[in-house]
């Protein structure tokens, strides 16, 4: 733990101290995160991950400010938060952006206008397809994690008839589009596809339709609450199909809603699983997080921690932040980050699975750049 704090804390502290000494002024890193609204849970993870990195690094000489702005899971509020953050002195050179894809899409033109680096952990694929040079995504995009999810289903579970249940939000749409591409590429068929509103609580109809479709596996792209509702109701209805979910299902807060028996055989894609990973540095991060926030860390918290730590490193160069991040290769806790030229910094994914004995999953499969090595099984032979 001491080594962990020393290593990352010292690294960040030295970066900030040098920066402050060079600039002779305060530095501000506004945290634009959804503390309220539909994505408040993920937003809190983001905020807490950032705060941990900032608090471990903070030195009096650095005079670093990191105000938190609630974006309310709403693009309009996110834009207002950005304008407030940019209007306060000293003008920030970087901001942490909200996790929801719609809010991030609304902020991209503003970041371009103000030449401010926007750190992101949103998975929405489109964010890095618009040619914006100021976005840096430290969570693998849907193009990466959905490739891992689809490959695990087809290559490891050997399932070929998939039922896809997704949220009728930007997050759900983006994920299901990527899943469709990957299932087709891997030679699997989508036997059933249906969307679910966040407000729908009773999913017995959807589960009955999945059963009737003849699917032999379920792929979920749902937010936390809907994921838990589907898994719990499927278990009670005796669906008896393997379920491989989106990253929401790896979150400790999602698992806490379900009985261990309901989670048996359920897997999820994610960038990391800090609560389950035995890597000593990640385990140290998890301990520090639990101690500070009395909660289990998830992949969003760790990705944000890594993003802020990476920002500290690039600040040392004295170059514009966006320029530095675009060229940097940064060893983080979850993975090594490097831009692909579009701002995608994270390219690895893992699959975690629950064994039915507890609520902490084990890492079942690690994928490095899964989207770059997914030839159809026939081609591979």
């Amino acid at each position: 733990m001491k080594r962990f704090i020393f290593r990352y804390g010292a690294m960040a502290a030295s970066a900030i101290t040098m920066l402050a000494a060079e600039a002779g002024a305060q530095e501000r890193l506004p945290l634009l995160v959804p503390i309220t609204g539909a994505l408040a849970l993920e937003g809190q993870s983001q905020r807490d991950g950032a705060l941990l990195a900032l608090e471990e690094a903070r030195q009096p000489a650095a005079r670093l400010q990191y105000p938190v702005y609630d974006t309310g899971s709403n693009p309009q509020i996110a834009v207002q938060a950005f304008e407030r953050a940019i209007g306060e002195s000293p003008k920030p050179r970087a901001m942490m952006g909200p996790i929801d894809g719609n809010s991030m899409l609304a902020l991209l033109p503003l970041a371009e206008r103000e030449q401010v680096a926007l750190l992101a952990v949103s998975g929405t694929a489109r964010l890095t397809e618009l040619g914006n040079k100021h976005i840096f995504r430290f969570f693998p995009s849907d193009a990466v994690v959905k490739a891992a999810q689809a490959r695990y289903i087809v290559e490891e579970l050997k399932r070929k008839k998939v039922a896809v249940v997704y949220q009728n939000t930007a997050y759900g749409q983006s994920g299901q589009e990527q899943l469709a591409i990957w299932f087709e590429r891997l030679g699997a068929s989508v036997a059933y596809r249906n969307s679910v509103p966040v407000t729908t609580k009773e999913l017995s109809g959807v589960i009955a339709q999945v059963r009737e479709s003849g699917a032999d596996v379920v792929a979920l792209q749902l937010h936390s609450g809907s994921s838990a509702l589907f898994v719990g109701q499927a278990a009670r209805a005796g669906l008896n199909l393997p379920i491989v979910g989106g990253s929401a299902l790896h979150q400790p807060s999602t698992a806490a809603l379900l009985e261990p028996g309901e989670l048996k055989g359920v897997c999820a894609e994610t960038a990391s699983a800090p609560a389950a990973d035995e890597n000593p540095e990640i385990a140290a991060f998890a301990r520090a997080f639990r101690q500070r926030f009395k909660a289990e860390p998830d992949a969003f918290a760790l990705a944000t921690y890594d993003a802020v730590t990476a920002l500290f490193q690039t600040w040392q160069s004295g170059r514009p932040v966006s320029e530095s991040l675009a060229a940097a290769r940064i060893k983080g806790l979850a993975m090594t980050y490097r831009s692909d030229g579009k701002g995608n910094m994270a390219h690895d994914a893992i699959i975690v699975c629950y064994d039915g004995a507890g609520r902490t999953p084990r890492i079942a499969k690690r994928y490095s750049r899964p989207h770059e090595d997914a030839r159809a099984p026939a081609e591979r032979r």
Partner: protein, 295 residues
């Protein structure tokens, strides 16, 4: 999954919706305006149950929801009384829009309060009765489903007895029908209005305890329940307690059947189409007032 199974799921959902809708109508009748915080009181009931689990000195013993139910209902009742005194009474002579704005404000305060205290994560309350799912004639029925239906039926029956068979109930109905006349007859209208708020909020909180075990609770969960209650009351007829209960079961059944036949997204949209059709065909609802306008 058979249609009988779908009907059982719809019955449990309808029972919980009925409690929310009943509370909604009680307050509507007493105050003459819509309580837009009703959904957030459902949410608050779920979180109140979580607080009581932490407060009860039962180390290591799972607290059954049956123990929590009276505590949650009482806490909800207290909140309702407070809303009546703070958000309704000072505005009761203003246009009805003032009351519904103030209840919206109460709802938002409850949401942000819950978010600040409990965080944004979904939480789950204990089941009323714990136990494995039962297999009955090929149907899977969880004890919680049975308990929700039984608890809601009992509460609805008790409420009916209170309103129809007791002096207090007659006074409550008199105050709701014509407050000026009731006041002239010496009925304490102010206290009875506060009591109606307390009863309505208590029912909402109890529904929150029942629903949060199956569907979880978050600070923002109230809006969906508010909308469902509003639709149930509109279909059942404004001001009608019987209509609220039947409307709630119709909404729940529509939700699960349309979700089974089509998709959950389409079922959501179709519910509002059905509401529009119901309003066109029967503007006063199934058991509503022949005339009259409400805020």
């Amino acid at each position: 999954m058979s249609w009988a199974q779908i009907a059982i799921d719809g019955l449990a959902l309808g029972a919980a919706y009925a409690l929310v809708a009943l509370g909604f109508v009680l307050i509507l009748n007493a105050a003459g305006a819509v309580n837009f915080a009703q959904g957030d009181l459902v949410m608050a009931g779920g979180f109140a149950a979580i607080v009581f689990v932490g407060l009860l000195p039962l180390d290591g013993i799972a607290v059954p929801g049956l123990v929590l139910a009276p505590l949650v209902a009482l806490a909800g009742g207290g909140a309702g009384w407070l809303i009546a005194e703070v958000a309704y009474r000072p505005l009761r002579h203003r246009p009805p829009v003032a009351v519904f704005i103030s209840t919206i404000a109460v709802g938002i305060m409850l949401q942000h309060g819950a978010n600040g205290i409990f965080g944004a994560a979904e939480r789950r309350t204990p089941p009323l009765v714990a136990g494995e799912a039962l297999e009955i004639a090929g149907l899977t029925v969880s004890p919680q489903t049975l308990a929700i239906v039984a608890a809601a039926a009992l509460v609805i029956l008790l409420l009916h007895q209170l309103l129809e068979r007791t002096q207090l109930g007659r006074r409550l109905r008199a105050a709701a029908q014509d407050a000026e006349m009731a006041r002239a007859l010496g009925i304490p209208v102010r206290r009875l209005t506060a009591l109606a708020f307390a009863l309505g909020a208590g029912l909402a909180a109890l529904a929150g305890l029942l629903l949060a075990n199956v569907y979880f609770v978050t600070p923002t969960a109230g809006l969906a329940f508010m909308l469902k209650a509003y639709i149930a009351v509109t279909i059942g007829g404004w001001g009608s307690l019987r209509g609220a209960v039947i409307g709630a079961f119709l909404v729940a059944m529509f939700e699960v059947v349309a979700g089974r036949l089509y998709s959950a997204s389409l079922a959501d949209a179709l519910l509002y189409v059905a509401l529009l059709v119901a309003l066109l065909l029967r503007p006063a609802g199934l058991f509503g007032e022949a005339a009259g306008r409400r805020a």
